[in-house]
């Protein structure tokens, strides 16, 4: 029972992070049908920038809280600029290109960003500065840290904010309209370019935030970290039904929990045949099984082809 609860807590934390990253994928996909492969790299850059900024500020004697805030802000702004730039420079010229063209561009950008990061930050694992105090709690047999609580609450609040933005503001309405039908939306006076740019900027901001969380949580970062994280987050987005914001959130959390439980129990389940190093396959197996039965993801709308 203890393990169970503990793994749920761990899964919830990891899942919140997946959810934040998944939102970036799902917003861009929902609006322009593009798998933005480079999104994971934006998250990675967000993490590494925070290390540099917050780390050096702390070294320079700035109070940790202030340094953390500064690091987060710089990273957010930089990633938003990066997301905006990616769209503007790499994807926008390809709006009318064949379907796979922007996908290859995204892959190319992902390679570029990764290697750029390697040139700047090097090949080695970097230690993330301790931005939050290490306090432990215990509840009903499960241990959790202050950091975990902050991650879950902060991502919850951020996602609530995002939903507010999408459903309560004019920009949000424009985004939803564009996702429904770009041609009609633009006839109704929606500025498609602005909407797409907004999706990238907002998604990147969420990604940067997730990156800082990952760094704080695992206290370590690396130029290749964006890859697997991005992959899992994208899986989460598809699991929830890509294009669907709530789906991405729930898909992320669900994926985190399934992975944690899977890792905790796989040994028992297979009589010791498979160990916890199979953790990474859960995401994909769950995805394949879910899509077999619900081809549009858990919460995706059925896109019945109109004949």
């Amino acid at each position: 029972m203890d393990i169970f609860l503990q793994q749920i807590v761990n899964g919830l934390v990891q899942g919140s992070i997946y959810a934040l990253v998944a939102l970036g994928y799902t917003m861009v996909y929902g609006i322009m049908g593009l798998i933005n492969f480079a999104h994971g790299e934006v998250v990675m850059i967000g993490t590494l920038v925070t290390i540099t900024v917050a780390g050096s500020l702390i070294k320079a004697g700035m109070p940790v809280a202030l340094a953390a805030l500064a690091g987060l802000s710089v990273s957010l702004l930089l990633c938003m600029a990066l997301g905006w730039g990616l769209e503007r420079i790499a994807y926008r010229p390809l709006r009318n290109a064949p379907r796979l063209t922007p996908l290859i561009t995204a892959i190319g950008m992902s390679i570029v960003l990764q290697n750029l990061a390697m040139m700047i930050w090097g090949r080695n694992y970097l230690t993330f500065p301790a931005l939050l105090p290490k306090v432990n709690f215990e509840l009903a047999g499960a241990h959790f840290t202050f950091i975990q609580v902050v991650i879950v609450l902060l991502s919850g609040a951020t996602m609530a904010g995002l939903l507010g933005l999408i459903y309560r503001t004019k920009l949000g309405m424009a985004m939803r309209a564009t996702a429904q039908n770009p041609a009609v939306a633009s006839l109704m006076g929606v500025n498609i370019n602005r909407v797409i740019a907004a999706a990238f900027v907002i998604g990147s901001a969420l990604g940067a935030l997730a990156g800082v969380m990952v760094g704080t949580y695992y206290e370590i970062a690396h130029y290749q970290m964006g890859f697997m994280l991005g992959l899992k987050a994208f899986t989460a987005a598809v699991l929830g039904g890509i294009g669907n914001l709530a789906g991405a959130m729930l898909g992320g959390v669900l994926l985190g929990i399934i992975e944690a439980l899977g890792a905790g129990y796989i040994g028992d389940l297979t009589g010791g045949f498979l160990g916890s190093h199979y953790q990474d396959i859960f995401a994909f197996i769950v995805l394949i099984v879910v899509l077999m039965f619900k081809p549009s993801g858990l919460f995706g709308e059925k896109t019945g082809d109109r004949a």
Partner: protein
């Protein structure tokens, strides 16, 4: 095909044949490493044309193609190495490898091919990762794949007593292992080119194109879209399996590292960057993308030395950076690929709007 070749095309073909035959000797002047690079270029041509059936012809976005290559490679590695003490002949292993890859393709494809294009992409991607992770970890409790260390001392390709590894004297020429593999690979590549060409202009090829153009209309004219897609998927997988077997034999060594997602992506990039669905384009894409990183490997370091007198940045990452940029730039200025088919060029500008709809 029925007509006799015109003198001009006969001359062209002769030229190509001579060039293909002579190429490894030219490459060998730069060292056997270059012959090996050439071998891989041809192997990638083979792989890319296999994937072209799936992506280019049937329009199915497969991001896990390398998994089938892995299945073929491990099939060969396990059936022809000291690992299990088996040393089966090529006539047995290659069909087994292709068959296993084909079965894997059908198993993955049959429940998932009804999925929307991009969902299929992520599912195949996940499948590729699953295969890789299993190969990485199936060394305990029973040692099947030997885990991350991989399998060594794999038998080379051999027909009877003729081995493709080591140097042999043929008509007074010394043929090294890589050179012999080169000719084998060229033969395989020509075979797959012919198959691609014939498929493209066949009843099945038309059905694939119809599905790509309008799946609903394709259904309405009586095409069993699920089976026809599955066919493409299974065929692509089989070719992947064959390529994997040759790869294992050629290297003498396999490990899970060779079957990362990045490899799948590379092969897809070859297909798209060259000109999806257009056979000459795909060949061009495969050759360019397999040689470019190697050429950069040799070019980037010295270029930095010449320009700045020292290594400013790690040449390995600079090389990948240039490679990534090349992908982006080609797509920016040649959105339909470097050498698209005439029809593809005209398609430009329509497909995307449909996605957005």
């Amino acid at each position: 095909m029925n007509k006799w070749l015109s003198p001009r095309s006969a001359f062209g073909i002769t030229l190509i044949v001579v060039a293909l035959l002579g190429l490894p000797f030219v490459a060998a002047m730069g060292g056997q490493a270059w012959v090996r690079i050439l071998d891989f270029a041809i192997l990638y041509v083979f792989l890319a044309l296999g994937l072209n059936i799936v992506v280019g012809f049937a329009g199915l976005l497969d991001l896990g193609y390398i998994a089938f290559y892995a299945v073929g490679a491990y099939a060969w590695a396990l059936l022809a190495s000291p690992h299990f003490g088996l040393h089966l002949p090529i006539w047995v292993i290659l069909p087994i490898g292709a068959g296993l890859a084909c079965i894997a393709g059908v198993l993955l494809g049959s429940p998932t091919l009804k999925l929307r294009g991009d969902y299929l992409a992520i599912v195949t991607l996940g499948f590729g990762e699953i295969v890789r992770i299993f190969m990485n970890n199936l060394n305990a409790p029973v040692n099947i794949t030997n885990g991350p260390q991989g399998i060594t001392l794999i038998d080379p390709v051999a027909f009877g007593g003729f081995k493709f590894s080591g140097t042999t004297q043929v008509f007074g020429y010394a043929l090294t292992g890589p050179m012999k593999y080169y000719y084998l690979l060229v033969a395989l590549a020509i075979l797959v080119i012919i198959i691609n060409l014939r498929l493209q202009h066949s009843r099945i090829g038309r059905a694939w194109q119809a599905i790509r153009e309008d799946e609903i209309a394709a259904k309405a004219v009586g095409i069993n879209t699920r089976n026809i897609k599955l066919l493409a998927f299974a065929m692509g997988a089989s070719f992947g399996g064959i390529a994997g077997g040759v790869f294992a034999a050629m290297q003498g060594f396999v490990s899970p590292e060779s079957f990362s997602l990045m490899e799948s992506i590379m092969i897809l990039a070859m297909v798209v960057l060259g000109g999806m669905g257009h056979i000459p384009g795909v060949i061009l894409g495969a050759v360019l993308l397999s040689i470019l990183p190697e050429a950069l490997r040799y070019g980037v370091g010295p270029a930095q030395m010449a320009l700045f007198g020292k290594q400013l940045v790690d040449p390995e990452s600079l090389r990948m950076l240039v490679f990534g940029l090349a992908l982006v730039l080609v797509m920016r200025f040649k959105p339909a690929g470097l050498w698209p088919s005439p029809e593809r060029k005209r398609e430009l500008g329509e497909k995307r709007m449909e996605v957005a709809k």
